[in-house]
């Protein structure tokens, strides 16, 4: 299915892009992250397991078990540091 992906802050910088639209087989946010990691550099490092990466699905914070749907907007970003 078609997924809109957005990146912010250090992850956006490491990837050199603020987002992309992809056709994905992933069923969950975690599987989508794994799909991106499988692309190799620079994705593998920026989203690597063990690194603090937070996710949002349709603009709400979620964990990686969250289920994707056609046309979903998924964002990956570092821990937040506002205020």
């Amino acid at each position: 299915m078609q997924i809109e992906i957005r990146f912010f802050a250090a992850i956006r910088e490491a990837l050199g892009t603020s987002g992309l639209s992809i056709e994905s087989q992933a069923r969950t946010v975690g599987e989508l992250r794994d799909e991106l990691i499988a692309r190799g550099a620079p994705w593998a490092e920026a989203l690597e397991r063990g690194r603090a990466v937070r996710a949002a699905l349709d603009q709400a914070m979620v964990d990686e078990q969250a289920t994707l749907r056609e046309g979903a907007e998924v964002a990956f970003f570092p821990p937040v540091t506002g205020g």
Binding site: F8, A52, A75, G83
Partner: protein
């Protein structure tokens, strides 16, 4: 450097994300309006400090997630209204390039009595710090660096019975 323009408070808008500066007095006046039930207003003002993690900081660049950031803070205010006997609240958060001593964030809460305003104000800034999508990048003498999330901020939110898991 010329001071950033100051925005007028948009009446009715509880959450504003903007590059412009804001006027605390005008925001409090807009929050209070002419509501005769208001007996207390508490505000938290966050500003750009000149040091962080042992290094001097000259400026900050703040990034956010347009759309989600506003929604997240609106939901936090709804939660504050459920938890505390308050009348109204508003949050103004700046983004873009900020200099030392600049204002970053304002949380303002009104209530009939002071206790609830104090609590709700602290709740909102604790919540915002770990759950609202903003990211700070500092300019230091060694170059630019992204600010790390603090475990102590997660602990601050945990006091309100909310698990953060941010840092």
């Amino acid at each position: 450097m010329a001071a950033a323009p100051i925005s007028a408070p948009a009446s009715g808008a509880r959450v504003r994300i903007q590059s412009e500066d804001f006027d605390l007095g005008a925001e409090v006046a807009a929050l209070r309006g002419t509501d005769p039930r208001v007996g207390a207003v508490c505000t938290f003002l966050g500003t750009v400090r000149d040091r962080n993690e042992g290094q001097s900081v000259a400026s900050l660049e703040l990034e956010h997630y347009p759309g989600m950031t506003e929604k997240a803070i609106e939901a936090m205010i709804d939660e504050a209204l459920r938890r505390f006997d308050i009348l109204d609240a508003r949050v103004v958060h700046r983004v873009g390039l900020l200099q030392t001593t600049d204002q970053i964030v304002l949380v303002a809460v009104s209530s009939a009595h002071r206790g609830e305003s104090f609590q709700a104000c602290e709740f909102l800034i604790d919540y915002l710090k770990t759950q609202a999508p903003f990211w700070k990048k500092e300019q230091t003498p060694d170059g630019a660096r992204w600010v790390d999330a603090r475990v102590s901020d997660d602990a601050a939110l945990a006091r309100w019975g909310i698990a953060s898991g941010n840092a």
